[in-house]
């Protein structure tokens, strides 16, 4: 199975809610589990790309760590049930509050899976173009992560893919590419972005 979304949450209403939001994403299989002990590890290991949606709660840190070290390419979405909940921000690629707009959650999932589709064509994905636009505008990895609701780790991984696809490594080079391709306008760029 190529693409999978696995939702692990004790609350059935949350599992079913997220599942129904994401069910329209094409060729992705969604499975839901109330806790970590019920997971089918064989199935998880077989997935090429895995989006894990779990409670953003320190209580599960150990289980998560074990799980993450035994599966392939994946991103981790932490769901915050309330503001006071304790969690480690850095552990997650995305951290979303329980009242997150549905659109944003769908964007996260689509962004993760779509990067796979055009890998060999050398064309940038929509998400990569967005990251490139923000690089060209002079943003740091941290700002890009905050703007796109993704982790800096994911930003770095996008940057790596962009560089590999375009054959352009430097920030000035990427900026010029973004202008040539009309991803940004020449007037949007500050003069020192090339130096």
């Amino acid at each position: 199975m190529a693409k999978s979304i696995v939702i692990i949450h004790p609350a059935e209403i949350i599992r079913k809610g997220i599942s129904s939001l994401l069910e329209d994403i094409q060729s992705v299989r969604i499975s839901c589990f109330p806790d970590f002990s019920k997971l089918n590890m064989q199935e998880l290991k077989a997935a090429q790309k895995l989006l894990l949606i779990v409670p953003a709660n320190c209580r599960y840190a150990q289980e998560l760590l074990e799980l993450r070290t035994s599966i392939g390419e994946h991103e981790l979405v932490g769901v915050l049930t309330n503001d006071k909940e304790k969690c480690e921000d850095n552990a997650f690629d995305h951290l979303i509050p329980i009242d997150v707009p549905a659109k944003q959650l769908i964007q996260i999932a689509e962004g993760f899976f779509e990067s796979d589709d055009t890998d060999n064509s050398g064309e940038l994905t929509i998400r990569e173009k967005e990251v490139l636009r923000l690089i060209a505008l002079g943003n740091t990895n941290k700002t890009i992560a905050d703007t796109l609701f993704i982790s800096t780790h994911t930003v770095i991984s996008h940057r790596k893919n962009i560089t590999e696809k375009l054959g352009i490594k430097s920030i000035p080079g990427l900026t010029v590419y973004a202008i040539i391709q009309k991803i940004v306008g020449p007037s949007d760029i500050s003069p020192d972005q090339l130096s």
């Binding site: 375009l166 054959g167 352009i168 490594k169 430097s170 000035p172 080079g173 900026t175 010029v176 590419y177 202008i179 040539i180 391709q181 009309k182 020449p186 090339l194 130096s195």
Partner: protein, 257 residues
Amino acid sequence: MIQKRVKKSLRPTFIRVFLSLPKIWVMQVFSKNDKMVHLVQANHNLLPVIHRFGIRLGFGNKTVEELCFDYEINSDFFLAIVNTFHNKNFFPKDQLLAFSPLLLVDYLKKTHQYYVDYSLPRIEKLIHRLLMSTPKQNSEMQMIEKFYLAYKKKLLEHFDEEEQEVFPIVEKLVLHPDQVADKNFDANFEKEHEHVDFELDDLKNLILKYLVPEYDELICNKLMEEIYHFERDIHDHSRMEDAILIPQMTQLLRAAE
């Protein structure tokens, strides 16, 4: 049918293996008794290197050793530089480290001069002419020129830093080590050199992959030739600095302590 297909798919591998081996065996290393004209005939890119040593044309049939003697040049050093430039895989590190750092500094200064006086302005001019040959001087294409100008500015600053700070210290360390006040000078340009490499690579890719199709092809050919030539030259130059000059300098600093 199947057999045919297998054979066909294997062929490139065989050719590659076959071709790559003799390349190492027949690596051409020039010696003192070679005629100087033979060096240029074998690789015309060596002419600027020979000029950097102050040797002028009109070689006649003189050998490398004879001409080096005429021009009062250390022929071993000359050959080490020329052979390193000529062969990508030839880098006699120990031999190079054993020469006086003054010889190397002098050579590096002359290569800087060559870049500043010739390579960089020439590339700049050709990029501008290429740009003028695109329809309505395409505004996106203008960014390539801006990119190059920013790159050139950074490179000149880097040369300047080396000439103002690094080379004088090396000279002083050799000639008057007691006069060097700061013995903790930290010179490591590998990172900067890497950036220079990256941006030059980016320049090539931006032109090769993303230039608009309407342009003057003769100017473009010349430009690309010039960029590849410069890339090769500066790569060799950076390698001399990173692998020879900086270790020599570190050693001198340690000895002066």
